[in-house]
């Protein structure tokens, strides 16, 4: 009897490739993909690593595949931008051991800087793409993806979204099939060496492969027609399929599990059997445009469905009268019920903030004091842009902080006011090349590496700077100060950001110099170290209620109303305080001290 487990989409993917005998797995943490590799590691047997970035991860997997191993590579949607270079050419070389690349997209930007529909990548790179709709399919498709990759000699893209990756469902699991394969890189230069003459041969093969894949898409059970009421036909994939099923259970469905290449005949025959045809999809009109290109009429849905994450109620509203009210939920309960509306009046929002004791807070307090223009990057510290810190002024993509600071200085000159900040994991991911660029081109930027010894934003993964691998083994620890010096930065300072005075001195020195400088603000992430000191307390007799401690934006510092509405009484929640002492350093009256 098969075993049934409740697994997230991410855990199910790990289980699927593990059972299919995966031998090599790599990736870079990125929400919502980050849990796949640790889950795979916990199952054992396969080599698993965090690579320095997505490009390195895919290139390593290309090598492992060339040697015959089945491979998994994981990343979030924007990670594929970083890995796009090898990805497009890997489509030409094909694979030896099956290779599945996970692209985890984030509609609604729950924790991303942009929405991006990576179904477009599969089409652009001409690779087979699978789109699971729940955990069971994550498991099934990941398994099958490795086999399909070998059958059709192509990397297979498996695209999830946040709702698929981070939702749990029941999965029927099996056993691992150990693959007895010799480790043997294939000697086939015409296939694997993409000099123009040989790449042109592969270009033809890619088109032949697409033809074969299209024929496969017509017959495979990955794409299935689910007959229902013929008056409404819906084509859908991924999470959109589940939402459409929820609100239109009576409709006919063409459920697509393989969304590139598409099956034109299956689409035509489905469309011919229904009166009105809808395509339900999240983000881009990827399927809609393809169906329309076949000359098939598609009913319009509201254009704003293309922004953000779908939900049952958004779809119910879009389908209007077609939805059975008993099944659709109440579309706008807050409008219909005054009691509900009153519940929502004046509710304070709860924005995410840097944790109590977060070491980044000291750097931002200092940069705010120095009135610096701060180019930022992707990580927890992006929260430095929010009130009350308000001290991060740009954020583009991983590693961009250094490039942006350099650009500002090239046109504005060094006015001593521009500082790039980025985390240690981000610096290794794609900051190093920017720093080399500054040194090489004679720039004079100040770069602050917020070294909290982890990849905090995605849940605390290790990286070369921590010197611990995903397997928990010690690796060679990257020496950040030595690296910065080696690329040509002579002025490198290491400082503890919880020491505000020392941090200010270091930043003032770096800003005053005409040479490029790196300040490494080094203090472990509170979520990883779990180290708590005795909490601090405010002596309310000494406190003049100036509010300076409140302005450091620590969640452990609350306020209580007093008779003077402009001067609430601050207090420290001893449950949340980890004893970092930042507030005590900002207090002008020494009213904050550590409990005994």
């Amino acid at each position: 009897m098969p075993q049934r487990m409740v697994l997230s989409g991410n855990e199910a993917i790990a289980r699927g490739v593990w059972e299919a005998g995966v031998g090599f797995a790599s990736g870079y943490p990125g929400t919502p993909s980050s849990e796949i590799l640790p889950a795979l590691k916990s199952l054992g047997d396969a080599y698993v690593e965090w690579s320095t970035n997505e490009k390195c991860a895919l290139e390593a997997a290309a090598g492992a595949s060339l040697a015959g191993a089945r491979c998994l590579v994981t990343m979030k949607h924007v990670g594929l931008n970083v890995a796009a270079d090898p990805f497009f050419t890997l489509s030409y070389t094909g694979v030896k051991g099956g290779l599945v690349l996970i692209s985890a997209d984030d509609p609604a930007m729950h924790s991303s800087q942009s929405e991006q529909d990576n179904r477009n990548y599969a089409r652009a790179a001409k690779v087979l793409m699978l789109e699971p709709s729940d955990s069971q399919e994550c498991y099934d498709f990941a398994r099958r993806g490795l086999q399909l990759s070998e059958d059709f000699d192509t990397p297979v893209m498996l695209r999830t979204t946040t709702r698929i990756a981070h939702s749990d469902g029941i999965v029927e699991v099996g056993e691992r099939t150990a693959l007895d394969r010799p480790c043997e890189p294939t000697l086939d230069p015409h296939k694997y060496v993409t000099i123009p003459a040989w790449a042109r041969e592969r270009r033809v093969k890619v088109e032949e492969r697409t033809g074969a894949l299209r024929a496969f898409a017509e017959e495979t059970d990955l794409n299935r027609i689910e007959p229902g009421d013929p008056s409404v036909g819906i084509i859908a994939s991924g999470a959109a399929y589940q939402y459409a099923r929820e609100v239109m259970p009576q409709a006919s469905f063409l459920k697509l599990g393989m969304t590139w290449p598409l099956p034109p005949e299956k689409i035509r025959s489905f469309a011919a059997g229904v009166e009105k045809l809808y395509v339900v999809e999240e983000l881009d009109l990827f399927l809609t445009d393809q169906v329309k290109a076949l000359g098939i009429a598609v009913e319009d849905l509201p254009a704003d469905l293309q922004i953000g994450e779908l939900s049952p109620e958004r779809l119910a509203a879009a389908f209007g009268d077609l939805v059975d009210p008993a099944l659709a939920g109440r579309a706008c309960p807050a409008d219909a019920d005054t009691g509900d509306a009153a519940c929502l009046v004046g509710l304070p929002p709860r924005p995410p903030v840097l944790c109590p004791g977060c070491p980044h807070r000291g750097v931002f307090l200092t940069l705010r004091k120095l009135k610096a223009f701060v180019t930022g990057d992707i990580g927890c510290y992006t929260l430095g842009a929010l009130p009350p810190l308000n001290s991060l002024h740009s954020c583009l993509c991983m590693g961009a902080s250094i490039g942006e600071a350099h650009g500002i200085e090239c046109v504005c000159g060094k006015d001593g006011k521009t500082v790039a900040v980025l985390g240690d994991s981000t610096f290794v991911h794609s900051g190093i090349t920017g720093l080399v660029n500054i040194a090489y081109n004679g720039g004079s930027s100040v770069v602050v590496i917020l070294d909290n010894s982890t990849t905090a934003m995605t849940g605390g993964q290790d990286h070369p700077g921590t010197g611990v691998t995903l397997s928990g083994r010690p690796g060679r620890k990257l020496d950040l100060p030595a690296l910065c010096r080696a690329v040509g930065i002579e002025d490198v300072q290491v400082v503890n950001p919880r020491d505000l005075k020392a941090t200010e001195e270091a930043l003032r020195k770096a800003l005053a110099s005409s040479e490029p400088a790196v300040v490494i603000a080094q203090c472990p992430c509170v979520l990883v170290s779990r180290k708590r000191d005795k909490p601090y307390v405010i002596d309310e007799d000494k406190c003049i209620r100036c509010g300076l401690c409140v302005r450091i934006g620590c969640p452990a510092i609350g306020v209580r109303a007093t008779e003077d509405p402009k001067k609430p009484q601050p207090f420290i929640d001893s449950d949340l305080c980890v004893g970092c002492a930042l507030c005590a350093q900002t207090c002008p009256k020494a009213a904050i001290s550590q409990t005994e």
Binding site: R4, M5, V6, T31, H110, S111, D134, R163, H166, S167, D168, G169, I170, A239, Q242, Y243, R245, E246, V247, P249, S311, P312, E313, A316, L327, G329, R330, A331, P333, A334, D337, G339, D340, A342, C343, L344, G346, L347, P348, P349, R350, P351, P352, V353, L354, C355, C380, T382, L383, P387, A456, M457, T458, G553, P555, G558, V559, P568, P570, D575
Partner: protein
């Protein structure tokens, strides 16, 4: 609290770090062991740095569960680990929904900054919404048991009183999920949750 025709929908809501994800996980394990269909989904913004966190749990004894998100207005049981988050969730709940709320206040930075006030009439507003509301002081009860971090298990105990799985099934799930060292105190927390709503 179950119906053959539609799934039972539970919304767990509160602030990052309150153990909401774990509580949802225990609930899913109980439903799995009972042989029910289940889907569960977590919604949290930028990581869990003090922002609002939601877990949607849907289960069904006989039917299929499609969407991992509960359709708006279809929540049968709200488990709010913080008062303002309870208010925020009301519009998602059915008119006949049950609301378990910890009236503990966790002050967001939007309040300390002076931009917003923390409403002092949270319970009054909840009662006025017409739902069945039970206050479960899960944090205080967990502190009494001796483990403040077990507030989520207290809340689960309270919820178990209204759901169609036996007490044994919950204890069994806790045994599988909770670290052995912490099991005894979690079972106590669970019992405290049941006691808090017994007779309701």
């Amino acid at each position: 609290m179950s119906s053959e025709a539609r799934p039972t929908n539970v919304l767990l809501t509160g602030v990052g770090g309150q153990g909401i994800i774990t509580a949802g996980k225990v609930m899913a394990e109980v439903a799995l062991a009972a042989g029910w269909q289940i889907k569960k989904s977590e919604i949290h913004g930028m990581s869990q740095r003090g922002g609002s966190v939601e877990s949607h749990v849907r289960f069904s004894k006989t039917g299929h569960v499609y969407s991992p998100l509960i359709p708006l207005g279809e929540v049968d049981l709200v488990m709010a680990f913080e008062a303002v988050e309870g208010l925020r969730a009301i519009a998602t709940a059915r008119p006949d929904a049950l609301v378990l709320v910890d009236d503990r206040q966790i002050i967001p930075t939007s309040v300390t900054s002076g931009a917003f006030e923390y409403p002092q009439d949270t319970l009054k507003r909840l009662y006025a919404s017409g739902r069945r509301v039970h206050v479960v002081s899960s944090f205080d009860l967990a502190c009494e048991v001796g483990e403040p971090r077990a507030a989520n298990i207290v809340m689960l105990g309270a919820a178990s009183h209204f759901l169609d799985f036996g007490e044994e099934a919950w204890q069994e799930a806790l045994r599988r999920i909770v670290r052995p060292k912490a099991l005894e105190i979690n079972l106590k927390a669970f019992a405290a949750g049941i006691a808090a709503v017994q007779g309701e």
